[in-house]
């Protein structure tokens, strides 16, 4: 039973990891990265590692996707050639 759960979660992690690598559009990739973080945290819980699951949930599902989204937003703003942002 535990082996079945671990096996399913491993396949889920492999699936979301493939989705992250194969999504060409950055916004879609950020959502896949968030799903990958949650799947990894569930796998860590099944492998009896609650400390690591704590850190992975907060980092992989919230903090890191936010940083990616902010970079994508900042890249889409108008910039004049010296790098200063236009109003």
């Amino acid at each position: 039973m535990t082996m079945l759960l671990i096996g399913l979660l491993l396949l889920l992690v492999a699936g979301t990891g493939t989705a992250v690598a194969l999504s060409r559009r950055p916004l879609r990739q950020v959502m896949a990265m968030s799903a990958n973080g949650v799947a990894l945290a569930l796998l860590f819980m099944a492998l009896q590692a609650p400390d690591v699951a704590f850190a992975e949930i907060a980092v992989g599902a919230a903090a890191l996707p936010l940083l990616f989204l902010v970079v994508l937003a900042s890249v889409r703003m108008d910039r004049n050639p010296q790098g200063a942002r236009n109003e």
């Binding site: 082996m3 609650p50 400390d51 704590f54 850190a55 907060a58 980092v59 919230a62 903090a63 936010l66 940083l67 902010v70 970079v71 937003a73 900042s74 889409r76 703003m77 108008d78 790098g83 200063a84 942002r85 236009n86 109003e87």
Partner: protein, 282 residues
Amino acid sequence: MSPRPRPERRIAFAIRLRLALFALAGLCALGGALHVAGRMPAFGAHPLPYGDEINRRGVPERHVTNMVSAVNFDYRGFDTLGEEFMLLCAVTGVTVLLRGTRGEARSAQPGRVEGRPILPRSEATVLLSRVLAPLILMFGLYVALHAMTTPGGGFQGGVIAATGTLLFFAGDGYRGWRRLIRSGAMDACEGSGASLYALCGFASMALGLPFLENVLPLGTPGDLFSGGLMLVENAGVALAVGGGFVVLFIEFLEETRVEPPEEAPGDAPGHATGDAPDGARS
């Protein structure tokens, strides 16, 4: 000044060449990888000598019940010192890179993207964020404090609390968030956390013992304040990780603001030009 752009077909050829080389290297490595995977010890059924040794000795020797914290802060405490300073270096690198180009001025005007309307914030978002943000901060504090007894520790509590402050950003906008989170305070938080960890090591050396030797009274296992010097190290790690992540968020979110207009020396940066909620059309 910039180089002449490459034609598309040369790019496609370069990508195909690189993919062919990757496939070749992958096939060679795959044989070796599968061979190793076949010879790996059976999953879940092989002896764990170091793990068993630490599990057997951890509670009587160190008087803590969380073995992962005991390994992180005591048995392998020196590695965690290295990790702390890796974190400090990465955050310093981000700050130098981003603040160096942008300057020290702060601004509260959001940047614009062509053709994208700025929608006002919904009341459900504001209510949920205002209710949940203090709860998550408290949860992060709880996780960080329970390092020695139940699953938790400085790393986890620090990231949970840092991510919790983002709900202030979601609910009250950039101005509300910045009013609460002072950049100077977060810099001090992170630096003091990392130096607290290093000072723990030097405190042991000052007493003539090896670096990071546990010198404080160990307490009883299962008590919140057990573990001796591990508690101080845990506090250092929580401060450093929490402060570091909030500094990262501040630096990145500042990148989405526009430059403040050239102002007379009497103006202070970042003051509201009105009471409009952040994101309304100016």
